[in-house]
Subunit: 140 residues, 4 copies
């Protein structure tokens, strides 16, 4: 998917990327992946018949993280007439959501051996770090 | 719509609203309305054959604002196991997006007599203020 | 909200509504309301500690219905260069999702006295009927 | 991204995939990619200062296709308590949106040498075919 994103960034008529376009493409890809993986993890948690009661907080954070990552991925995908303040605020929200969801999933992976939470924690970490890199690039 | 939102908040088994539930319901309603109105304004701008070139920035901000308001409305609609940091960061992003889009639409309403931008500016202002009130309530 | 939607439809530079604009505004409003209410019902079900195991199917249908209603409301909000086939197919999907979710919620309202499911069933029925009316208008 | 999707499907506690899980993973990945690429193509078209007037229909179809693909990708990502009728109807809508958007983008790639439309047409075709395969699998 990152390749396709880079192809779209490269063919844009006004390629004013707020940061290095490789960093941007990685962050868009991480947001889209994390949105999908969180949707999937919420659903897998919902199917854990013997553990469901312990996964309520995880499902809630998954749902928030999925919504926020999807919105952030869309906002980041637009290069025409960017507003840096909007971009920064949304990336900051995404970073916060990914950190909260990643922490929760990591705990369930470790303590309850939930494999879907282990995969989800990785996607959250990847997205959290990608958001940090874009923010760092924008503030440089 | 606000009535239906309040009915849902009132029937929740764990009604731990992060702020007064009337303030919360108003903010959810403002987010949902602003998401729809921004989608509609982007489309109306796209149909302005004689002015389209001057409305590119408006369309872009409309699309961002629609995505961000929709995500914020969904996150705010969840009461189970809220994470206040995620909530605050997302509301801050929403407030920023509504301010940027409201400023742009207000200018087109005033200078180019764009009526859809006038309606959209009102929805953006309503949502901006509703977000401010939730943030004030959460920080009180 | 319906008023604001009608104001946006009325100020559109190319008001080629696929059906009577009152019927269209009602359907957009019903989609936006149903998206919010289903998000809220999924969350309320998730908070039902003593009944959660019986509400898994309801949560899943709520989440699908919320996603589908939100997308349908956005597609319906656009009047510029509509594609009737896309519109009809998406409305048909929305109608199907609202019927499935409404049936499930109605059952939980009746048999388990779930009040959030009762409110949600009403929103699903309103949206189902609004979709039927748009489809009827488009096929007339 | 397809690998991560497959990892999530493989760790699901109730892996009742409506079709072969490889076919499902490919369709989810195609939906997510097409949503991002269509968002990106709408934005690139908006930045085409000398051709914008000719790209209005393309932008509109891009926006619809992005919304519909994102919703379809989410619905397909859920395995718990699937409703086949909802799934089929949403996939049919997605297929229709991808076909309409792919046709429009293909034309702009060919006649106006729009490179972002060429990339977008490929993603639409990939998603259209992936939806066809899931429908074929579900009806088999």
């Amino acid at each position: 998917m990152t390749q396709r994103i880079q192809a779209m960034l490269a063919t844009h008529p006004q390629p004013h990327s707020p940061v290095d376009s490789g960093v941007l493409a990685e962050c868009i890809a991480a947001c889209m992946e994390c949105a999908q993986v969180c949707t999937s993890c919420a659903d897998a948690c919902l199917g854990e018949q013997n553990h469901l009661m312990h996964l309520v907080k995880c499902i809630r954070l998954n749902l928030d993280c999925a919504d926020i990552c999807a919105a952030t991925g869309s906002v980041l995908s637009r290069l025409t007439q960017s507003n840096p303040e909007v971009l920064k605020a949304q990336i900051a929200a995404c970073l916060t959501a990914c950190k909260a969801c990643g922490d929760e999933c990591e705990m369930h992976a470790r303590e309850m051996n939930m494999q879907h939470c282990a995969v989800c924690a990785e996607s959250c970490r990847r997205c959290e770090q990608a958001c940090e890199q874009v923010l760092r690039g924008m503030n440089a």
